[in-house]
C-alpha cells in the first residue's frame, strides 16, 4: 500500500482520488482540508517539501505539492483543484518553511493566493507588475517597464520613456 492509499484510508472524505503521477503516488484532496492533511503527511515522515507547482488549466487551477521522506525514501504528491475565479488555498508555511518562497513564486507567476502566508508578495517580478505570466491568458505583447524609486524599490509603468534611449 502506498502513501496515497494510506491517506485515503485515514481520511476517506477529504481524499477524493488516488492515482499515480507517472511513478509517484498521488492523492487528490479537497482544498479545505489541505492544512489538516499536510499535518498528517508530515507526521507520516515526509519531512521535505520538494516543490509547489501551480498549473492553469483554463477552466480551473491545480496546485501540486511533492513531498519526500528522507527516512522512508518515499514519495508523495498532493493535488488540490481550485476554481478559476480568485483561486486561494491554505498556506503550508506553518509546517514547511521552504513553502514561504515556493508559495510566493506560485503566487507571483500563476496568481494563486495562499491564505495564512505571512508575506505574500511577488518574488521574481517587481511589485506592481500586471498579470501573472504563467496563466494561459497572459498578454505577452504588453510592454511593462521598471524604474527605480525610493530606497531602490521598483516602480512599474507601461511608459518606457524614463528608461529607453531616444533614437
Amino acid at each position: 500500500m502506498n502513501a496515497a492509499e494510506e491517506l485515503k484510508q485515514s481520511f476517506p472524505e477529504s481524499v477524493t482520488g488516488v492515482g499515480l503521477q507517472t511513478n509517484k503516488p498521488l492523492a487528490v484532496i479537497k482544498k479545505e482540508d489541505l492544512l489538516m492533511i499536510a499535518g498528517k503527511v508530515k507526521e507520516m515522515g515526509f519531512d521535505n517539501l520538494s516543490v509547489v507547482t501551480g498549473i492553469d488549466y483554463v477552466d480551473h487551477f491545480e496546485v501540486i505539492y511533492n513531498f519526500f521522506s528522507y527516512n522512508n525514501k518515499q514519495n508523495l504528491a498532493l493535488k488540490v483543484i481550485l476554481e478559476r475565479e480568485n483561486p486561494a488555498v491554505d498556506s503550508l508555511f506553518s509546517l514547511y518553511k521552504v513553502a514561504d518562497w515556493l508559495e510566493r513564486e506560485t503566487y507571483d507567476l500563476v496568481g494563486i493566493r495562499f491564505s495564512g502566508h505571512p508575506n505574500l508578495v511577488r518574488i521574481l517580478l517587481p511589485d506592481g507588475w500586471e498579470g501573472h505570466p504563467l496563466r494561459k491568458d497572459y498578454d505577452m505583447n504588453k510592454e511593462q517597464w521598471v524604474t527605480i524609486g525610493e530606497d531602490g524599490e521598483d516602480i512599474v509603468s507601461t511608459d518606457g520613456s524614463g528608461i529607453l534611449r531616444r533614437k
Binding site: N66, W101, L102
Partner: protein, 382 residues
Amino acid sequence: METEQLLLNMGPVHPSTHGVLRFKLRMDGEIIRDCQVVMGYLHRGTEKLGEMKTYLQFVPYTDRLDYIAAMPNNYAYVKAVEELAGIEVPERAEFIRVLCMELNRVVNHLVFLGSLLLDLGASTPIMYGFREREKALQLFEMLCGARMTFNYIKPGGVREDLPEGFIPKLNEFMKDMEKRVDDYEQLINGNEIFLLRMKNIGVISAEEAVNYGMTGPSLRGSGVKYDIRRLEPYSIYPDLDFKVCSYPEGDSYARYMVRIDEMRESLHILRQVADNMPPGKAATTQRYGIAPETGIPSSVMSYFPRIFTPPPGEVYSRIEAPKGELGFYVVSDGTTKPYRIKIRSPSFCNLVAIPSMIVGLKIPDLIAAFGTIDVVLGDVDR
C-alpha cells in the same frame, strides 16, 4: 547601548553576490538584525518560454539555468521527458551522460572553491580553480564544441558519440586533478584566517535544514546523508561505487569540506565510468514520433526524435545536481509542446535558509555563509 538601526542595501550589483542578488539588511551597528533577500533581477521567464517551444527546443534553455554546471540541467529535463514519453536509452549513452555530469560536478566545485576564497579575500585559489576548469572545458569542447552551454544531452541519448582520443585525455585530466585536490587542501584547509572565517559561521541544524528545503552539499554539511543518487537511483548510479560525503557540524566549513570530498568522489566515479565504457550506440536507434521531412538521408540524421508527442500526463523527475535537488515538473497535453514546465531549482530552495543562518552575525560572515551555499543566479531566478 541603544543605537539606531540602519537599513543597508547590498546589491544587486555587488561582487560577492555571484550575480544580481540583493540583500536588504537591517543593521544594529555591525550586527545583522534582519535580512531580506530580494531576487528576480535575472528572471527571464524560462518556464513560460518552455510552453512555446517543442520538447527538443527547450533543451538549450536548461543550459542557461545553472550555467556553471549545465550538463545536469540537460539531463534532469531530458530524464523527465524520457519518463513521460517512454523513450529507451542505450547503455553507452547513459555512461556518457554520467561521465559528463560528474565532470561538470568537478567543474562546479572548482568554481565554488575559487569564488568562495575570492570573496574571503584570497585571490590565488580562483586562479588555480579556473586553471583546472579550463582543462575540463577543453574536454567538453571535444565532446560538443561548447564550453559552457552544451545542449549535448537529448531525449534518446547524447548528441555525438565520444570523439577519438577522449578517454586518454580524460585520464590525463583525472591524474592531474587528483593531485590538485590534495594541493588545494594543503593550501587552504589549515589556514588560520580561513578557519576563523568559516568555523561556526552560518550554522544550521539538520532538522532546520530539512525544513528549509535545503538539498545537496549544503544539506550534507548539516549531517544529513541524503543524496538522490543513492536514495532514488537513476541512470547507472546503482552500479557505481561511491560514498555520500557528509559532515555533522552544519557550519560553513562543513559545507566547504563536503564539496572538497565530493570532488574526489566524482573523480572516482569518472574513473569507473571511463574504464567500463561499453560499446554500442550513443543514441537510441528506435524511431519515436514523427521524423520531419528534411530531405536529408536517414543515414546522416541521427535517430533523435525531433518532434514527438508524449501521451498526456505529468511527471516530477529529480536528480542530484552539483548544487542539490534539481527537479523538472513537466505536464504534457498530448501535443508537440509541453503544457507546463516547472523547474525546482536547488539554488532557489537553498537560499531560503540564508536569513535564519546569518542573523546576529556580521556582514563578512554573510559573505562567507552565502558563498558556501553556492547559488547561481540563473538558477535562482530562472
